[in-house]
Symmetry: C2
Subunit: 158 residues, 2 copies
DNA sequence: TCTTGTTGGTTACAAATACAACCATTACCC
DNA sequence: GGGTAATGGTTGTATTTGTAACCAACAAGA
């Protein structure tokens, strides 16, 4: 029988840790605002990094454009987001948080920060630094926006 | 504007890292054997930890029993897994890999090991050790099987 | 033994996701 | 300018997943 152990296999371990750590937070945005994961991601991008188009969110968050399209539609229905057509390029629509959307964002940021603090409470400062650094490298952050690989278009994740 | 940054928020970062690192491997089990993530997880549990029932896999892998039920049905249809009814308790069925299932497992283990090696190639031994340790703690590993929390039954994950 | 509860497992239906196709607009280039 | 490709975004349909309900078998206590 092989030495191979699932408990040190990164894709498995990362998925388990991701699910476990996401649970508490997802319960909040779900119960409090009826949001899905895709929706809070879009909300957070707009709230934290400012107005941008759906395509730009897609590149930053590595979400497929259909997910974004539906998340934006849902956020719009909740009156959290508004669209403004770009007059220079009529394909593009810039997305903005409404006042209500910003209130939800501000509220959820507090929850997220508290949740994150709780999650890292058992880690030393050094451990946390290494963890974040490794995860960012594994996630491909800090490479700007990924170069296209294997014939994938940048835009066409998932 | 808040200081909060998605790029250090663990639930987000872990999800991104998990997706990114899972991609290469999932392509293999999908293309080569038409498996889903749930299916390779079941296959790996049986291949690595020996015969067990669906419920036991569920406890170990924190997968909901419906996911397991369907994954097992799919693996059975592919002739990778067989069931054997427990004569002492006729509710339980012990699952076993067929010879064909074991070949698939052996093949995928090699792929998984190579993939994991590639993923950690840029990490120092120390970084890797810290990473694995932190992830196992975040994932709740090593606590045996989780105590019930908040009125969740052990069995009823997700 | 009855009856109430738990466990192992499947099924049905709703919600969410992936994937491909599509439309409109803009960019490139002959 | 006109054809071809690329980009931004939406929609339709097939797969997957989540959730609840269900059935059968066992457990425990009155």
């Amino acid at each position: 029988m092989s030495e191979f152990d699932l408990r040190t296999f990164l894709p498995y371990l990362l998925n388990q840790a991701a699910e476990e750590t996401s649970l508490g937070f997802s319960r909040v945005y779900k119960d409090r605002y009826g949001m899905l994961r895709t929706e809070w991601r879009v909300l957070f991008h707009l709230g934290r990094y400012g107005d941008m188009t759906a395509a730009e969110i897609g590149r930053r968050a590595k979400m497929h454009k259909t997910k974004i399209s539906r998340a934006v539609a849902a956020l719009e229905a909740k009156r959290f987001v508004t669209r403004r057509e770009d007059s220079a390029d009529r394909r593009r629509e810039t997305l903005t948080l409404s006042a209500q959307g910003r209130r939800a964002f501000d509220d959820l940021v507090v929850v997220a920060e508290a949740h994150d603090t709780r999650l890292t409470a058992n880690l030393s400062a050094g451990e946390r630094a290494v963890l974040i650094d490794c995860l960012q490298r594994l996630a491909g952050f800090g490479k700007g926006v990924e170069p296209a690989i294997d014939g994938y278009k940048q835009d066409e994740y998932q």
